[in-house]
């Protein structure tokens, strides 16, 4: 299995993720990747409404958000979260990757988009970019997964 250098916060702590998808498999798959990247699962949600509540409760560093979900779709959830938390970092994860969808998500405040099935190396690079905060920076990983972070 490919090894990834751990993605860490600036304070050297694990990145905390909220994973939002109505598919249990999709969530498990993303959680597996998060662990490969040295991250910590802070919460899960199966629809947009629960995602908003979970975001307010756990204040994650990153949200991985599906688009097509019951009750409230991902793009609407992004809009509502970003309205309250302008610094929210949300990455859309969807199998429907046409331009209108991507643009709509970005206009509502999502930081990036990744198409399913998700390739770990693609998600890793996107997360590294989003975590860097500076669009011109690549973000520097600070430790390898499994290494101590003293």
């Amino acid at each position: 299995m490919k090894q990834f250098a751990a993605l860490l916060r600036k304070d050297n702590q694990s990145v905390r993720y909220l994973v939002v998808d109505d598919s249990v498999f999709a969530r498990k798959n993303l959680i597996k990747m998060i662990e490969m990247f040295g991250g910590e699962l802070a919460g899960e949600a199966g629809d947009g409404l629960t995602a908003i509540a979970e975001f307010n409760r756990i204040k994650p560093d990153i949200v991985l958000m599906d688009i097509t979900m019951p009750q409230m779709e991902g793009i609407e959830a992004v809009e509502r979260i970003v309205r309250q938390h302008s610094d929210a970092r949300i990455v859309m994860v969807s199998s429907v990757g046409y331009q209108e969808n991507i643009l709509a998500a970005l206009q509502k405040g999502a930081k990036h988009f990744v198409q399913k099935p998700v390739k770990p190396e693609v998600l890793y690079e996107i997360l590294r970019y989003v975590l860097s905060d500076d669009p011109n920076a690549t973000g520097a990983p600070t430790a390898l997964v499994g290494e101590s972070r003293s």
Binding site: K28, N29, T68, S94, S95, V96, Y98, E100, K116
Partner: protein, 167 residues
């Protein structure tokens, strides 16, 4: 049969299965079907309506579904109706999502309906006038069947307008 409408589904299915099931895939059988579709296992039916319309059926045996579930989840899954149902839906969603992305970027606009799962004896009666392409794809988890019937909406409009009105 409009291959330019069907090809994106075949390409997407091949790519999605290879990527998500982490192994090589091969199209081992392709045939035209004009009769009502005979389900082979558990099937997800997805309807598409808009500039183009039709339906896609993704069909797999429960045994294959459980193997797929294990690969998708990254851990062995116990067989259950819910696992099978969610697996078929997840695969269908990924295939359809990737296909409609290709078609939408070509300028077609349409609505994709959520998957309708058929796993018991009743349900999923095909339409005898639906010309469909039935494809069997070999994957590391077993065979997956796709039944695709797509057409342009304007063709149907033309067909309708050609029928004399009944007074």
């Amino acid at each position: 049969m409009r291959m330019e409408l069907i090809q994106p589904f075949i390409n997407a299915a091949d790519a999605v299965f290879a990527e998500s099931l982490q192994g090589p895939t091969k199209i081992i059988d392709v045939e035209m079907g004009e009769d009502a579709y005979r389900r082979k296992g558990v099937a997800a039916l997805i309807l598409i309506k808009g500039d183009i319309e039709g339906r896609v059926i993704l069909d797999i045996s429960p045994e294959v579904a459980v193997k797929v579930a294990g690969v998708l989840a990254g851990t062995a899954m116990e067989a259950s109706e819910q696992v099978v149902r969610e697996t078929v839906c997840e695969l269908a969603n990924m295939v359809i999502g990737n296909s409609v992305t290709l078609l939408n970027d070509q300028g077609f606009h349409f609505k994709v309906f959520p998957p309708e799962v058929h796993m018991h004896e009743s349900g999923l009666e095909g339409s005898a006038d639906t010309e469909a392409l039935v494809i069997c794809i070999e994957t590391p988890c077993g065979d997956i069947f796709l039944n695709i019937a797509m057409r342009y909406l304007h063709r149907r409009r033309a067909e309708r307008s050609a029928v004399p009105a009944l007074d």
